[in-house]
Amino acid sequence: MTRDPSDEELMLSAGRGDLDAFEQLVLRHQHSAWNAAYQFLGDAAEAEDIAQEAFLNILKSAPRYRPTASFRTYLYRVVTRLCLDRARKKHPAYTDEHDEMASRATSALDDLIKDERDRAVRAALDSLPPAQRMAAVLRYYEGLSYADIGEAMENTVKGVERLLARARTGLESNLRRFLEE
């Protein structure tokens, strides 16, 4: 019985031009890349753009790839860079408008509490500055450790601790109503 090649082995093959190896990598990690981008951007079409670009960038740089960190962390790093770059190019999403949206969402119809809560969570995430939002997405939706978030965001564990502490303060203040229930 032959064992499945590791991500790193597939990546080295992709670097030598093996597109079947690249396809296997995409199939293995498409959910992670797409979901991280989606939770950050809140838009399925934009998330697809970012996730596709991330995989194509990875293929382009595959000949120079050296397996120093896990492939998954490497993928998150590429997705993070693209997401933060997209957030920089767009008008900042974290304005008072979103605080307003959050409070509007939280005061919507009582019989749609679930729907209201989901929209409030989205608005609360959007209200965060991009780096805090990315740290929160990687932590609470992708389940990364502090060390892996540090790798993905090119930051220290202490820096990630500070980012996440500020992100939680922002989220708690926008979602207070749901936390008191």
Binding site: Q30, H31, A51, F55, R139, L164, A165, R168
Partner: protein
């Protein structure tokens, strides 16, 4: 440990990511601090609310679209990567036999080049026949010019004796 520091560690405490000695300090602090205990309960609720929010599902055919794009881009990338020679990359990509042959060719080339160069440099430089500008330009009539005159200086200049004693 101060409350502010403890509260910053609570998330990692929950997922058991703290070093044992730090975890022990947080444990001790939580036993006696109601405020940090409340912060821990608030954190658990926040995580519950965040995780309950539904994500959208991955669009169908995502992987196929990525691979299709990769296949379309690949030929151009292949051409460009061949058009610029990267010696290190070439060395890594080729089998040992080809590398040995290439190394031998380079060594032979260097040896032949070295021999030819040494042969060229070892030849004695040929002396150029020196032409006497005085006879070439028919300046003989200036030969009787008095010492220190302008004509004598001119003769010294054209015959390459400038600054030399007569």
């Amino acid at each position: 440990m101060h409350c502010k520091h403890v509260q910053r560690k609570l998330d990692a405490y929950e997922s058991d990511e703290l070093a044992p000695q730090v975890r022990r300090l947080v444990d001790e602090h939580l036993r006696s601090c109601e405020r940090c205990g409340q912060a821990l309960r608030r954190l658990r609720k926040l995580k519950g609310v965040l995780e309950a929010a539904p994500g959208a599902s991955l669009p169908a055919g995502f992987a196929e679209r990525v691979v299709q794009k990769a296949r379309r881009r690949r030929p151009a990338a292949a051409v460009s990567s061949h058009s610029t020679l990267n010696p290190l990359r070439w060395w890594q990509d080729n089998p040992a036999g080809i590398r040995v042959a290439a190394a031998a060719s380079v060594a032979i080339g260097l040896a032949v080049g070295g021999l030819l160069g040494a042969n060229t440099w070892s030849k004695a430089p040929q002396e150029k026949p020196s032409a006497d500008p005085v006879s070439i330009y028919n300046l003989d009539y200036l030969g009787d010019a008095p010492s220190g005159s302008l004509a004598e200086s001119y003769l010294a200049l054209v015959s390459g004796r400038n600054g030399e004693d007569k």
